[in-house]
Point group: C2
Chain length 236, copies 2
DNA sequence: CGGGTTCTTGACTAGTTTCAAGCAAAGTGG
DNA sequence: CCACTTTGCTTGAAACTAGTCAAGAACCCG
């Protein structure tokens, strides 16, 4: 299986539009030096928990996960989704404890680097450290975008933006087959991502379906008319 | 003046609870190698703009700034505030262009590193690169918190949380004098940070004043009763 | 002492949540 | 294989939070 042969860093540079430093040689050396562990996680498992110490820096090799924060009374904000090439747990590795939880949406394959070896990576493999920073910057950008949506956009704009984002991110990872994406989310996930109630999310999705911008039945998500969705995202 | 003597990295580790690697020696070497430029920016200036290329990685030495994103129709989301020791422009240095703008709230002193030398920093000064990553992780955490607030908390909870956060962050940088903080914000800034209208922000602040949790007249911000504010932040 | 910005307040409106109920699809066990 | 249960989706009505409009007061700066 492909999965058994890739290591932590193999997937990192995939999404970089332009590698500032070729790290091919370094990646080889890295693979020899670090015996990175592989983890398999069942769908539905919360494998990183708010308040626990963060022991590993993970790269997603396969599957979907989501990061979230919970309040005492049960309200939950989904902070973002992790797809292949995304990194998980950086914040937990650098601070004493994790400030968010992570749950697997599908069965998940991860590659993990122990936090104790993170410094080795920085001191011995600068171009990988650079890649890692690039991933952190991508995460920052995504959060900025999401905050803009939740803070300023109407329910319709917000929902359309999120669907556009998820589809585009899935495209980057070649997850679209015959125009269709296996989207492992429920409307409740969307609602908790958008900061809206489930009911209102449902009604907003209905409007998007009626505009014939997307079709979403079961897990099969299809982007019928990207421009239409873009218009909904922009105008409200 | 103090300002003339510090370099890019002098301020970075200040907020790190526990330095994983002492970088004192490296910092010295860095200061000799890099002639980091200093910038002085007048209050009110937007010195980084959404869509422009990001030429520098900055560290704030003195003053306040805020990052924001704008929509075409003028709506604005403030993404966060930068105080001394905060870093600005990482995302712009790594990607082709900036995805947010930054405006100075007060007169600002920055220390800038050209994007072209960022790789030098990674290859030659790993412990500084590590510090930089720590700062990025702190930024990620702050954004997570803010997204939780805007997505899930009520107006009152949200506002109280933000005031707590700003005060705590100012405390870290020793900006509190006799219990008072010079807070260079208007209610419009708060509103754009919280994703609320100006009017509603005003009415929410009134409730916080009435609970005798804070006093805020002009620029002088005083935290009268932290526990009371915490209760407002938790219960709504 | 103006003139502009910021703050404050009330009345009205709109968007969103909550509540409640029914339906559809998928999974489970006898 | 079919009742039974669970989970997720859909819809309408009522309640409420927050937004908009409008106008006046307070504050600050030149």
């Amino acid at each position: 299986m492909l999965v058994e042969k890739v290591s932590l860093c193999d997937l990192w540079p995939r999404s970089r539009e332009k590698a500032l430093n070729s790290s091919a040689e370094e990646r080889l050396r890295f693979a020899e030096t670090f015996k990175t562990e592989q983890f398999h996680i069942a769908a539905g498992t919360t494998f990183m928990q708010q308040g626990m110490p963060g022991e590993h820096l993970y790269t997603v090799l396969k599957g979907w996960a989501f990061r979230y924060k919970s309040l005492d009374d049960g309200r939950r904000q989904i902070l973002g989704y992790a797809l292949p090439s995304d990194m998980l747990g950086l914040q937990g590795c650098l601070m004493q404890e994790l400030h968010h939880s992570v749950e697997a949406l599908t069965d998940l394959t991860l590659c993990g680097l122990s936090r104790h070896r993170l410094w080795e990576l920085y001191s011995g493999f600068p171009s990988l450290a650079f890649d890692l920073t690039w991933l952190a910057a991508r995460e920052l950008k995504t959060l900025d975008d999401q905050l803009l949506s939740v803070g300023q956009r109407s329910a319709l704009e917000r929902t359309a933006c999120l669907l556009l984002h998820l589809f585009a991110r899935a495209e980057e990872e070649d997850l679209i087959e015959q125009g269709k994406l296996q989207l492992p989310l429920t409307q409740q996930h969307l609602a908790d991502t958008l900061g809206m109630s489930l009911v209102h999310t449902n009604k907003t999705l209905k409007r998007i379906y009626e505009a014939k911008a997307v079709r979403w039945r079961g897990r099969s998500f299809e982007l019928l008319d990207r421009d239409a969705l873009r218009r909904l995202a922009a105008d409200g």
